[in-house]
């Protein structure tokens, strides 16, 4: 996975609340038996003029010339709520989104982001609105996110500190795969399992 240490990029604000995984990638776009090829389906219901079509809707922010290379999203609360489909995160990642800033996230979605190299930044509603105002000017729609110092920096130089669990931070910084990390604790798991199996033998039948 691509490590994420410091990232600067074009930021698009889609300030709706409860942007759910169906909106991020509609079910009909999940046609592939693989993780690849989903970027095209990102926000399909908003991005294209008709369901299943590919004619860009000129009103949708990501279709505007100034936002062609968007890699940071600014959103309303509860981003990524809804289904547990990881396709939503795969689609975002393939499209090129590296950071999502919102007041809160769907719990499953948040974890999926970390596992797939996307940084979810939680900032208060007020700060999101403030940031949205700052990036309104297409000259200043670039934000920088510094994951080591846990801070978002706007084009005007204002900085917004955020909080992230150490484990999540390390995984993103080092581009680590969680399974590999856990497998290093193989012995601990085995020891736990031995005594657990004695106590709960019926779960091992």
């Amino acid at each position: 996975m691509k490590p994420l240490v410091m990232h600067s990029g074009v930021t698009a604000a889609i300030l709706r609340t409860n942007i759910d995984t169906d909106a991020i990638i509609p079910s009909r776009e999940m046609k592939l038996v693989s993780k690849q090829g989903l970027g095209e389906g990102l926000f399909a219901s908003w991005r294209y003029t008709e369901a299943g079509g590919r004619t860009p809707n000129p009103d949708f922010i990501l279709n505007k010339a100034a936002y062609k290379n968007t890699s940071i999203l600014l959103s309303g609360k509860n981003f990524g709520c809804g289904s547990s489909r990881e396709h939503a995160v795969w689609a975002l990642a393939e499209y090129g989104i590296r950071v999502i800033i919102a007041p809160s996230f769907g719990a499953i979605f948040y974890g999926n982001c970390i596992r797939n190299g996307i940084l979810p930044v939680t900032l208060s509603d007020e700060l999101i609105v403030e940031l949205a105002e700052q990036i309104q000017d297409p000259q200043k729609h670039q934000l920088t996110v510094d994951l080591i110092n846990k801070v978002v920096i706007s084009a005007t130089g204002l900085s917004y500190p955020f909080v992230i669990a150490n484990g999540c931070q390390t995984m993103l910084l080092e581009g680590l795969d969680q399974i590999g990390v856990t497998m290093k604790s193989g012995k601990t798991i085995q020891m736990f399992e031995q005594s657990y199996r004695q106590k709960r033998s019926w779960l091992f039948e």
């Binding site: 300030l15 709706r16 609340t17 409860n18 759910d20 169906d22 909106a23 509609p26 079910s27 009909r28 999940m30 046609k31 038996v33 693989s34 993780k35 219901s45 369901a51 299943g52 309303g76 609360k77 509860n78 709520c81 809804g82 289904s83 547990s84 489909r85 990881e86 995160v89 809160s104 769907g106 719990a107 499953i108 974890g111 999926n112 596992r115 797939n116 509603d125 609105v129 669990a165 150490n166 484990g167 795969d177 969680q178 399974i179 856990t182 497998m183 604790s185 193989g186 601990t188 798991i189 736990f192 399992e193 657990y196 106590k199 709960r200 033998s201 019926w202 779960l203 091992f204 039948e205």
Partner: protein
């Protein structure tokens, strides 16, 4: 120290504490389905890993299979056949138990897992489907995960989990006739918002919960995720033990006795502390129906489409306006005047035998209104067998319902079958998001009896008028 049920389940599965509030938890059961199963299994193999303990992994064909009688691997979902066949192949290769299309126990994962005794009190169970929380109804810690987490659990029998907060929802009073678990939970979400349970493991408790059947409890916990909860759970009682006993995967003999000893301790201690508590008096509830595009957009069937709340936040305002527009409704319209095009009884929320019995009791001797397309999809082969043995299939068919083979069916739109552009559906499912049941399809969530009553009336209807 006094512990909650959730605290006990967490502690019993804690392999290691990784950092503040993040633990490595032992996972007892993993359920896959054909929508993502092959991706997870194949991606595991591609990374040179294997399923650590195949006996703990199960897979069902439910999400995109065809539900017409006489079905095959063919399905209307684009490339659905490929999903089905690659999941079959990957499951066989991994040596895990697959409930294939023609298996006598096939059905929706959250219906068959309790039905077979795969989920048990005190176990941890994960599945790459957000409604896995349903299974907490039996006193298990069960939650929906992403594909990568399913891979992680298969490879290591553990998961890295951030510890949720403890929340209790006390449902007190006496549930009036004609009010179901679905109404209760929609009411809860409407009152406290779709994010009301965010970050919490929610224990449902109180005399109303105690009085609910296991199947109704499964419905209640099913919707915990629509309340943004990590999961829902209910302390297992004699009803839960009776329900499990004798199921194909339930412990037997001496192990049953041992299990019962452990299970008997699975309750919240009297003086345990919750981070958050909600108490709802259920004595005066009316049937609840959703009118908008979030489960929090719900109200009594006797109400009118509400005005936007005056104290609404900026972002919520846009989503309210969009909901009116998408649903083609305006504030002040009486809910029970809304004319429907279709009625759907199915999904892991409400497709169990008691749901079908209750709906059939309304449909018997009556006919679906002209022009309404009505479909019933039993949650599992076992439910279907039971229903047919009781003659419920005939009642549904005579009333004008399609009677289908088990699967998720039109709970969600995957590019296959759907009710049609801008059609209005009253549905016993769990999500009314835009496009959930098809392109611009308008979904009204309700209990199976409200769906049945509405199918007959041709508009959203109060089921109590039909409960004679």
């Amino acid at each position: 120290m006094a512990l909650t049920l959730f605290d006990k389940l967490w502690a019993d599965h804690e392999v290691a504490i990784l950092e503040d509030n993040v633990s490595l938890l032992y996972i007892d059961r993993i359920f896959l389905h054909e929508r993502t199963g092959s991706i997870a299994l194949e991606s595991l193999v591609a990374d040179g890993r294997m399923v650590r303990n195949p006996e703990k992994v199960f897979c069902s064909m439910d999400h995109i299979v065809d539900t017409h009688v006489g079905r095959t691997d063919e399905t209307l979902v684009p490339s659905g056949k490929q999903f089905i066949q690659s999941t079959r192949k990957a499951s066989h290769a991994a040596g895990i138990k697959l409930f294939d299309i023609n298996d006598p126990w096939q059905g929706i994962v959250h219906v068959i897992s309790p039905e077979l005794g795969i989920v048990q009190p005190g176990c941890t169970l994960i599945c790459p489907d957000s409604h896995t929380c349903s299974q907490g109804a039996l006193g298990a810690l069960a939650w929906g995960v992403g594909s990568s987490e399913a891979e992680h659990a298969m490879a290591t029998n553990t998961l890295v989990v951030k510890r949720p907060k403890n929340m209790r929802v006390n449902l007190v009073g006496q549930l009036p006739v004609g009010i179901t678990a679905k109404d209760l939970v929609l009411h809860l979400i409407a009152q406290y918002g779709a994010a009301g349970g965010s970050g919490c493991a929610i224990e449902f408790a109180g005399e109303v919960v105690e009085a609910l059947s296991i199947e109704a409890r499964l419905t209640l916990c099913n919707m915990a995720v629509e309340f943004s909860a990590f999961t829902g759970l209910i302390a297992p009682d004699h009803k839960a033990f009776d329900y499990i006993q004798g199921k194909p995967y339930a412990p037997k003999g001496k192990q049953w006795e041992e299990a019962m000893v452990y299970w008997a301790g699975l309750y919240t201690d009297a003086d345990a502390v919750f981070d958050k508590q909600i108490t709802i008096d259920c004595s005066h509830l009316a049937p609840v129906v959703s009118w908008g595009t979030s489960p929090q957009h719900a109200c009594s069937v006797l109400d009118k489409v509400p005005n936007m709340p005056t104290n609404i936040e900026a972002g919520d305002e846009a989503s309210y306006l969009r909901a009116y527009e998408y649903m083609d409704l305006h504030p002040g319209q009486a809910i029970d005047s809304i004319v429907i095009d279709a009625a759907f009884i199915g999904s892991c929320t409400n497709s169990r035998i008691t749901d079908l019995r209750e709906a059939a009791a309304i449909l018997v001797g009556r006919k679906v209104a002209n022009g309404v397309k009505a479909i019933c999809v039993p949650g599992s082969k076992a439910v279907k067998r039971m229903a047919e043995a009781e003659g419920l299939d005939k009642i549904f068919i005579q009333a004008g319902f399609d009677w289908r083979e088990p699967g998720c069916s039109m709970c969600f739109f995957a590019g296959g079958e759907n009710f049609g552009f801008r059609k209005r559906v009253i549905s016993s499912t769990n999500r009314n998001f835009e496009g959930r049941q098809g392109p611009e399809t308008r979904t009204h969530l309700a209990s199976p009896i409200t769906v049945a009553a509405s199918a007959i009336a041709g508009r959203i209807a109060d089921p109590r008028e039909y409960l004679l």
